[in-house]
Protein backbone atom coordinates (compact mmCIF):
# COMPACT_ATOMS: atom_id res chain seq x y z
CA UNK A 1 0.00 0.00 0.00
CA UNK A 2 1.29 3.45 -0.76
CA UNK A 3 0.73 6.78 0.87
CA UNK A 4 -0.97 9.00 -1.64
CA UNK A 5 -1.42 12.61 -0.58
CA UNK A 6 -1.85 11.64 3.04
CA UNK A 7 -4.44 8.89 2.45
CA UNK A 8 -3.33 5.29 2.43
CA UNK A 9 -4.31 3.66 -0.80
CA UNK A 10 -4.25 0.21 -2.28
CA UNK A 11 -3.50 -0.26 -5.94
CA UNK A 12 -5.51 -2.83 -7.84
CA UNK A 13 -4.46 -3.93 -11.29
CA UNK A 14 -7.62 -5.40 -12.68
CA UNK A 15 -7.98 -7.55 -15.77
CA UNK A 16 -10.58 -5.99 -18.04
CA UNK A 17 -12.34 -7.48 -21.03
CA UNK A 18 -15.23 -5.67 -22.67
CA UNK A 19 -16.06 -7.54 -25.84
CA UNK A 20 -18.26 -4.77 -27.23
CA UNK A 21 -15.70 -2.04 -26.67
CA UNK A 22 -12.40 -3.67 -27.38
CA UNK A 23 -11.62 -7.10 -28.78
CA UNK A 24 -8.51 -7.56 -26.67
CA UNK A 25 -8.32 -7.73 -22.87
CA UNK A 26 -6.45 -5.00 -21.04
CA UNK A 27 -5.31 -4.19 -17.53
CA UNK A 28 -6.69 -1.21 -15.66
CA UNK A 29 -5.21 0.28 -12.53
CA UNK A 30 -7.37 1.63 -9.71
CA UNK A 31 -6.40 3.30 -6.46
CA UNK A 32 -8.71 2.61 -3.58
CA UNK A 33 -8.65 4.07 -0.05
CA UNK A 34 -7.21 1.38 2.16
CA UNK A 35 -8.64 0.16 5.44
CA UNK A 36 -7.17 -2.66 7.47
CA UNK A 37 -10.42 -4.64 7.53
CA UNK A 38 -11.22 -4.32 3.84
CA UNK A 39 -11.47 -7.39 1.64
CA UNK A 40 -10.69 -7.38 -2.08
CA UNK A 41 -14.42 -7.45 -2.80
CA UNK A 42 -14.89 -4.23 -0.80
CA UNK A 43 -12.26 -2.63 -3.00
CA UNK A 44 -14.04 -3.82 -6.16
CA UNK A 45 -17.32 -2.46 -4.81
CA UNK A 46 -15.63 0.84 -4.04
CA UNK A 47 -14.40 1.03 -7.63
CA UNK A 48 -17.84 0.13 -9.00
CA UNK A 49 -19.62 2.71 -6.83
CA UNK A 50 -17.17 5.59 -6.95
CA UNK A 51 -14.66 5.24 -9.77
CA UNK A 52 -15.77 3.07 -12.65
CA UNK A 53 -19.30 1.73 -13.05
CA UNK A 54 -18.26 -0.46 -15.94
CA UNK A 55 -16.16 -2.88 -13.90
CA UNK A 56 -18.05 -6.16 -13.87
CA UNK A 57 -17.87 -9.06 -11.42
CA UNK A 58 -20.22 -11.39 -9.57
CA UNK A 59 -20.89 -11.31 -5.87
CA UNK A 60 -23.62 -11.73 -3.32
CA UNK A 61 -23.33 -12.99 0.25
CA UNK A 62 -19.88 -11.52 1.07
CA UNK A 63 -19.50 -14.12 3.81
CA UNK A 64 -17.88 -16.94 1.89
CA UNK A 65 -20.86 -19.21 1.39
CA UNK A 66 -22.57 -18.33 -1.92
CA UNK A 67 -19.50 -19.05 -4.04
CA UNK A 68 -20.01 -16.21 -6.53
CA UNK A 69 -16.99 -14.01 -6.06
CA UNK A 70 -13.99 -16.16 -6.95
CA UNK A 71 -11.12 -14.52 -8.83
CA UNK A 72 -7.42 -15.01 -9.28
CA UNK A 73 -5.92 -12.63 -6.75
CA UNK A 74 -2.19 -12.22 -7.34
CA UNK A 75 -2.32 -15.43 -9.34
CA UNK A 76 -4.03 -17.51 -6.66
CA UNK A 77 -7.70 -18.51 -6.96
CA UNK A 78 -9.48 -16.91 -4.00
CA UNK A 79 -12.88 -15.77 -2.82
CA UNK A 80 -12.55 -12.00 -3.07
CA UNK A 81 -14.85 -11.64 -0.05
CA UNK A 82 -12.39 -13.63 2.04
CA UNK A 83 -9.10 -12.08 0.92
CA UNK A 84 -8.08 -9.11 2.98
CA UNK A 85 -6.15 -6.25 1.41
CA UNK A 86 -3.68 -6.35 4.28
CA UNK A 87 -2.58 -9.81 3.17
CA UNK A 88 -0.98 -8.06 0.20
CA UNK A 89 0.47 -5.16 2.14
CA UNK A 90 3.25 -3.35 0.44
CA UNK A 91 2.46 -4.16 -3.13
CA UNK A 92 -0.05 -3.87 -5.89
CA UNK A 93 -2.75 -6.50 -6.13
CA UNK A 94 -3.35 -8.19 -9.43
CA UNK A 95 -6.97 -9.23 -9.94
CA UNK A 96 -7.80 -11.57 -12.78
CA UNK A 97 -10.74 -13.78 -13.61
CA UNK A 98 -10.54 -17.38 -12.42
CA UNK A 99 -8.04 -19.25 -14.56
CA UNK A 100 -9.07 -22.11 -16.85
CA UNK A 101 -12.52 -20.67 -17.62
CA UNK A 102 -13.48 -18.62 -20.68
CA UNK A 103 -14.00 -14.97 -19.75
CA UNK A 104 -17.36 -13.44 -20.57
CA UNK A 105 -16.58 -9.96 -19.33
CA UNK A 106 -13.98 -8.56 -16.91
CA UNK A 107 -13.94 -10.92 -13.91
CA UNK A 108 -17.02 -12.86 -15.00
CA UNK A 109 -16.26 -16.31 -16.36
CA UNK A 110 -18.36 -18.95 -18.03
CA UNK A 111 -18.86 -21.93 -15.69
CA UNK A 112 -21.38 -23.81 -17.83
CA UNK A 113 -18.91 -26.65 -18.26
CA UNK A 114 -19.07 -27.36 -14.53
CA UNK A 115 -22.84 -27.00 -14.43
CA UNK A 116 -23.12 -29.76 -17.02
CA UNK A 117 -20.66 -31.99 -15.20
CA UNK A 118 -22.60 -31.49 -11.98
CA UNK A 119 -25.74 -32.59 -13.78
CA UNK A 120 -24.00 -35.67 -15.20
CA UNK A 121 -22.75 -37.11 -11.92
CA UNK A 122 -26.32 -37.59 -10.65
CA UNK A 123 -26.01 -35.45 -7.54
CA UNK A 124 -29.16 -36.70 -5.86
CA UNK A 125 -30.16 -39.60 -3.63
CA UNK A 126 -30.98 -42.67 -5.70
CA UNK A 127 -33.34 -45.09 -3.98
CA UNK A 128 -34.21 -48.58 -5.06
CA UNK A 129 -37.20 -48.40 -2.80
CA UNK A 130 -38.82 -45.23 -1.51
CA UNK A 131 -39.87 -45.21 2.09
CA UNK A 132 -43.19 -43.47 2.74
CA UNK A 133 -42.79 -40.08 4.43
CA UNK A 134 -45.00 -41.23 7.31
CA UNK A 135 -42.20 -43.53 8.42
CA UNK A 136 -40.08 -40.48 9.03
CA UNK A 137 -36.50 -39.76 8.18
CA UNK A 138 -33.95 -42.32 7.07
CA UNK A 139 -31.83 -43.07 10.09
CA UNK A 140 -28.19 -42.10 9.77
CA UNK A 141 -25.74 -42.18 12.65
CA UNK A 142 -23.32 -39.30 13.28
CA UNK A 143 -20.50 -41.62 12.15
CA UNK A 144 -22.28 -42.35 8.86
CA UNK A 145 -22.80 -38.62 8.39
CA UNK A 146 -19.12 -38.01 9.06
CA UNK A 147 -18.16 -40.30 6.15
CA UNK A 148 -19.42 -37.82 3.55
CA UNK A 149 -20.07 -34.56 5.40
CA UNK A 150 -16.83 -32.88 4.41
CA UNK A 151 -17.58 -33.50 0.72
CA UNK A 152 -21.05 -31.98 1.05
CA UNK A 153 -19.45 -28.65 1.99
CA UNK A 154 -18.63 -27.67 -1.62
CA UNK A 155 -19.99 -24.22 -2.47
CA UNK A 156 -19.28 -24.62 -6.22
CA UNK A 157 -16.98 -21.57 -6.16
CA UNK A 158 -14.78 -23.08 -8.87
CA UNK A 159 -11.49 -22.18 -7.19
CA UNK A 160 -10.38 -25.81 -7.44
CA UNK A 161 -10.92 -25.86 -11.20
CA UNK A 162 -9.00 -22.62 -11.54
CA UNK A 163 -6.12 -24.17 -9.60
CA UNK A 164 -6.08 -27.52 -11.41
CA UNK A 165 -3.41 -27.74 -14.13
CA UNK A 166 -4.98 -30.90 -15.52
CA UNK A 167 -8.32 -29.14 -16.06
CA UNK A 168 -6.36 -26.31 -17.61
CA UNK A 169 -5.05 -28.68 -20.24
CA UNK A 170 -8.10 -30.88 -20.68
CA UNK A 171 -11.50 -29.41 -20.00
CA UNK A 172 -13.05 -32.85 -20.47
CA UNK A 173 -11.51 -33.82 -17.12
CA UNK A 174 -14.35 -34.28 -14.63
CA UNK A 175 -12.37 -32.26 -12.13
CA UNK A 176 -12.20 -31.77 -8.37
CA UNK A 177 -15.58 -30.35 -7.26
CA UNK A 178 -17.71 -32.62 -9.46
CA UNK A 179 -15.86 -35.70 -8.22
CA UNK A 180 -16.11 -34.57 -4.61
CA UNK A 181 -19.87 -34.15 -5.02
CA UNK A 182 -20.19 -37.52 -6.73
CA UNK A 183 -18.27 -39.09 -3.87
CA UNK A 184 -20.49 -37.22 -1.39
CA UNK A 185 -23.50 -39.17 -2.72
CA UNK A 186 -21.55 -42.42 -3.18
CA UNK A 187 -20.56 -42.31 0.49
CA UNK A 188 -24.05 -41.39 1.73
CA UNK A 189 -25.72 -44.39 3.39
CA UNK A 190 -29.11 -43.21 2.15
CA UNK A 191 -28.09 -43.67 -1.48
CA UNK A 192 -28.88 -47.15 -2.78
CA UNK A 193 -27.11 -47.19 -6.12
CA UNK A 194 -23.57 -45.91 -5.68
CA UNK A 195 -22.47 -47.65 -8.83
CA UNK A 196 -24.78 -45.50 -10.93
CA UNK A 197 -22.09 -42.82 -10.77
CA UNK A 198 -19.13 -45.10 -11.45
CA UNK A 199 -19.20 -44.68 -15.25
CA UNK A 200 -18.79 -40.90 -14.81
CA UNK A 201 -16.14 -40.85 -12.14
CA UNK A 202 -14.25 -43.83 -13.52
CA UNK A 203 -14.44 -42.62 -17.08
CA UNK A 204 -11.23 -42.26 -19.06
CA UNK A 205 -11.49 -38.55 -18.31
CA UNK A 206 -12.68 -39.05 -14.77
CA UNK A 207 -10.47 -39.56 -11.75
CA UNK A 208 -7.69 -41.33 -13.66
CA UNK A 209 -6.67 -38.02 -15.23
CA UNK A 210 -5.81 -36.68 -11.78
CA UNK A 211 -2.10 -36.77 -11.09
CA UNK A 212 -2.31 -35.79 -7.45
CA UNK A 213 -1.15 -32.20 -7.91
CA UNK A 214 -3.18 -31.39 -4.83
CA UNK A 215 -3.68 -27.68 -5.58
CA UNK A 216 -7.48 -28.15 -5.49
CA UNK A 217 -7.32 -29.03 -1.83
CA UNK A 218 -4.92 -26.17 -1.12
CA UNK A 219 -7.20 -23.48 -2.57
CA UNK A 220 -10.53 -24.91 -1.37
CA UNK A 221 -12.00 -22.28 1.00
CA UNK A 222 -14.31 -24.79 2.69
CA UNK A 223 -11.90 -27.61 3.49
CA UNK A 224 -13.63 -30.03 1.14
CA UNK A 225 -10.31 -31.62 0.09
CA UNK A 226 -11.40 -32.72 -3.41
CA UNK A 227 -8.07 -34.49 -3.92
CA UNK A 228 -8.97 -36.85 -1.11
CA UNK A 229 -12.36 -37.54 -2.69
CA UNK A 230 -10.62 -38.29 -5.99
CA UNK A 231 -8.23 -40.74 -4.32
CA UNK A 232 -11.08 -42.47 -2.51
CA UNK A 233 -12.93 -42.70 -5.81
CA UNK A 234 -9.86 -44.20 -7.47
CA UNK A 235 -9.71 -46.91 -4.82
CA UNK A 236 -13.38 -47.68 -5.50
CA UNK A 237 -12.54 -48.00 -9.19
CA UNK A 238 -9.57 -50.25 -8.61
CA UNK A 239 -11.41 -52.56 -6.21
CA UNK A 240 -14.46 -52.55 -8.46
CA UNK A 241 -12.64 -54.56 -11.15
CA UNK A 242 -12.10 -57.36 -8.66
CA UNK A 243 -15.85 -57.66 -8.12
CA UNK A 244 -18.16 -59.68 -10.36
CA UNK A 245 -19.99 -57.50 -12.93
CA UNK A 246 -23.27 -56.05 -11.74
CA UNK A 247 -26.41 -57.72 -12.88
CA UNK A 248 -29.58 -56.27 -14.35
CA UNK A 249 -30.52 -52.73 -15.28
Amino acid sequence: MTKDSGVETATLKVFRYRPEVQTEPFVQEYKVPYRQDMVVLDALNYIKDHIDGTLSYRWSCRMGICGSCGANVDGEPKLTCASFLHEFKGKEIKIEPLANFPVIKDLIVNIEDFMEKLDHIKPWIIRKEETPLEKGEYRQTPEELEAYKQFSMCINCMLCYAACPIYGMNEEFLGPAATALAYRYIADTRDQDHEARFPMVHDKEGVWECTLVGECSVVCPKGVDPMLAIQKTKILGATQILKPPRRGK
Partner: protein, 136 residues
Protein backbone atom coordinates in the same frame (compact mmCIF):
# COMPACT_ATOMS: atom_id res chain seq x y z
CA UNK B 1 -30.82 -25.70 -23.76
CA UNK B 2 -30.60 -28.93 -25.74
CA UNK B 3 -27.67 -30.60 -24.15
CA UNK B 4 -25.67 -33.28 -25.82
CA UNK B 5 -25.01 -35.57 -22.91
CA UNK B 6 -21.54 -36.93 -22.80
CA UNK B 7 -21.20 -40.70 -22.99
CA UNK B 8 -19.46 -42.05 -19.92
CA UNK B 9 -17.87 -45.44 -19.50
CA UNK B 10 -15.82 -46.91 -16.68
CA UNK B 11 -12.24 -47.26 -17.83
CA UNK B 12 -11.35 -50.70 -16.49
CA UNK B 13 -7.81 -50.73 -17.88
CA UNK B 14 -6.97 -47.47 -16.16
CA UNK B 15 -8.53 -48.74 -12.96
CA UNK B 16 -6.34 -51.85 -13.14
CA UNK B 17 -3.18 -49.88 -13.88
CA UNK B 18 -3.93 -47.51 -11.05
CA UNK B 19 -4.59 -50.45 -8.75
CA UNK B 20 -1.19 -51.94 -9.55
CA UNK B 21 0.40 -48.53 -9.12
CA UNK B 22 -1.24 -48.19 -5.74
CA UNK B 23 -0.16 -51.63 -4.55
CA UNK B 24 3.29 -50.75 -5.90
CA UNK B 25 3.24 -47.69 -3.69
CA UNK B 26 2.79 -49.85 -0.60
CA UNK B 27 5.48 -52.24 -1.79
CA UNK B 28 7.91 -49.40 -2.39
CA UNK B 29 7.10 -48.01 1.03
CA UNK B 30 7.20 -51.20 3.10
CA UNK B 31 9.58 -53.55 1.28
CA UNK B 32 11.98 -51.55 -0.82
CA UNK B 33 13.93 -49.76 1.94
CA UNK B 34 15.11 -52.96 3.56
CA UNK B 35 16.09 -54.46 0.21
CA UNK B 36 18.14 -51.41 -0.70
CA UNK B 37 19.78 -51.41 2.69
CA UNK B 38 20.82 -55.06 2.76
CA UNK B 39 21.93 -55.56 -0.83
CA UNK B 40 23.40 -52.21 -1.75
CA UNK B 41 24.48 -50.63 1.52
CA UNK B 42 25.03 -53.20 4.25
CA UNK B 43 26.62 -55.81 2.00
CA UNK B 44 29.20 -53.60 0.24
CA UNK B 45 30.00 -51.67 3.45
CA UNK B 46 29.96 -54.69 5.71
CA UNK B 47 27.35 -53.40 8.11
CA UNK B 48 24.80 -55.18 10.26
CA UNK B 49 23.24 -57.72 9.60
CA UNK B 50 25.72 -58.97 7.07
CA UNK B 51 28.82 -57.94 9.01
CA UNK B 52 30.71 -60.58 10.98
CA UNK B 53 29.44 -63.25 8.70
CA UNK B 54 31.50 -65.79 6.93
CA UNK B 55 28.94 -66.06 4.19
CA UNK B 56 27.82 -63.71 1.47
CA UNK B 57 24.55 -62.43 2.70
CA UNK B 58 22.33 -60.69 0.25
CA UNK B 59 18.57 -60.89 0.17
CA UNK B 60 18.55 -62.95 -2.94
CA UNK B 61 19.12 -66.51 -1.99
CA UNK B 62 17.96 -69.44 -3.96
CA UNK B 63 14.60 -70.13 -2.50
CA UNK B 64 11.13 -69.76 -3.90
CA UNK B 65 10.24 -67.30 -1.16
CA UNK B 66 13.15 -64.95 -1.82
CA UNK B 67 12.56 -65.13 -5.57
CA UNK B 68 8.96 -64.10 -5.15
CA UNK B 69 9.97 -61.42 -2.67
CA UNK B 70 12.45 -59.84 -5.07
CA UNK B 71 10.03 -60.06 -7.99
CA UNK B 72 7.27 -58.33 -6.05
CA UNK B 73 9.50 -55.69 -4.51
CA UNK B 74 11.46 -54.70 -7.58
CA UNK B 75 8.56 -55.20 -10.03
CA UNK B 76 6.10 -53.27 -7.87
CA UNK B 77 8.53 -50.46 -7.22
CA UNK B 78 9.45 -50.20 -10.88
CA UNK B 79 5.81 -50.00 -11.89
CA UNK B 80 5.02 -47.48 -9.18
CA UNK B 81 8.03 -45.29 -9.91
CA UNK B 82 7.61 -45.15 -13.67
CA UNK B 83 3.81 -44.74 -13.49
CA UNK B 84 4.07 -41.89 -11.04
CA UNK B 85 6.86 -40.20 -12.93
CA UNK B 86 4.86 -40.44 -16.14
CA UNK B 87 1.68 -39.02 -14.58
CA UNK B 88 3.45 -36.00 -13.16
CA UNK B 89 4.74 -34.91 -16.54
CA UNK B 90 1.53 -33.13 -17.60
CA UNK B 91 1.98 -30.90 -14.54
CA UNK B 92 5.23 -29.73 -16.04
CA UNK B 93 3.37 -28.65 -19.14
CA UNK B 94 4.42 -31.67 -21.14
CA UNK B 95 0.87 -32.71 -21.94
CA UNK B 96 1.49 -32.80 -25.65
CA UNK B 97 4.45 -35.14 -25.30
CA UNK B 98 2.76 -37.18 -22.61
CA UNK B 99 1.24 -39.87 -24.82
CA UNK B 100 4.69 -40.59 -26.24
CA UNK B 101 6.21 -40.52 -22.78
CA UNK B 102 3.40 -42.77 -21.57
CA UNK B 103 4.22 -45.31 -24.26
CA UNK B 104 7.92 -45.18 -23.39
CA UNK B 105 7.02 -45.61 -19.72
CA UNK B 106 4.91 -48.70 -20.34
CA UNK B 107 7.65 -50.15 -22.56
CA UNK B 108 10.21 -49.66 -19.78
CA UNK B 109 7.86 -51.33 -17.31
CA UNK B 110 7.18 -54.26 -19.63
CA UNK B 111 10.83 -54.80 -20.57
CA UNK B 112 11.86 -54.42 -16.91
CA UNK B 113 9.35 -56.99 -15.69
CA UNK B 114 10.29 -59.48 -18.41
CA UNK B 115 14.00 -59.07 -17.68
CA UNK B 116 13.38 -59.37 -13.96
CA UNK B 117 11.38 -62.55 -14.42
CA UNK B 118 13.94 -63.94 -16.83
CA UNK B 119 16.97 -63.41 -14.57
CA UNK B 120 15.13 -64.64 -11.50
CA UNK B 121 14.07 -67.76 -13.37
CA UNK B 122 17.64 -68.29 -14.58
CA UNK B 123 19.06 -67.82 -11.13
CA UNK B 124 16.47 -70.05 -9.50
CA UNK B 125 17.19 -72.91 -11.87
CA UNK B 126 20.80 -72.57 -12.89
CA UNK B 127 22.48 -70.90 -10.02
CA UNK B 128 25.72 -72.19 -8.58
CA UNK B 129 25.13 -72.36 -4.81
CA UNK B 130 28.86 -72.51 -4.13
CA UNK B 131 28.96 -68.77 -4.78
CA UNK B 132 27.23 -68.22 -1.50
CA UNK B 133 30.01 -69.95 0.33
CA UNK B 134 32.81 -67.81 -0.95
CA UNK B 135 34.60 -66.41 2.02
CA UNK B 136 34.74 -62.68 2.11
Amino acid sequence: MDKVKKEYKSDKLHALLWGVFSVGGFIAAFLLPVLIYIDNIAYPLGLWPVANSSLIKIVFMVSLLSTIFVFITIGGSLFHGIFRFKTTLPELGLKRASSLISAVGYIIIAVGLIALAYYLFQLYHGFDPSLFHRII
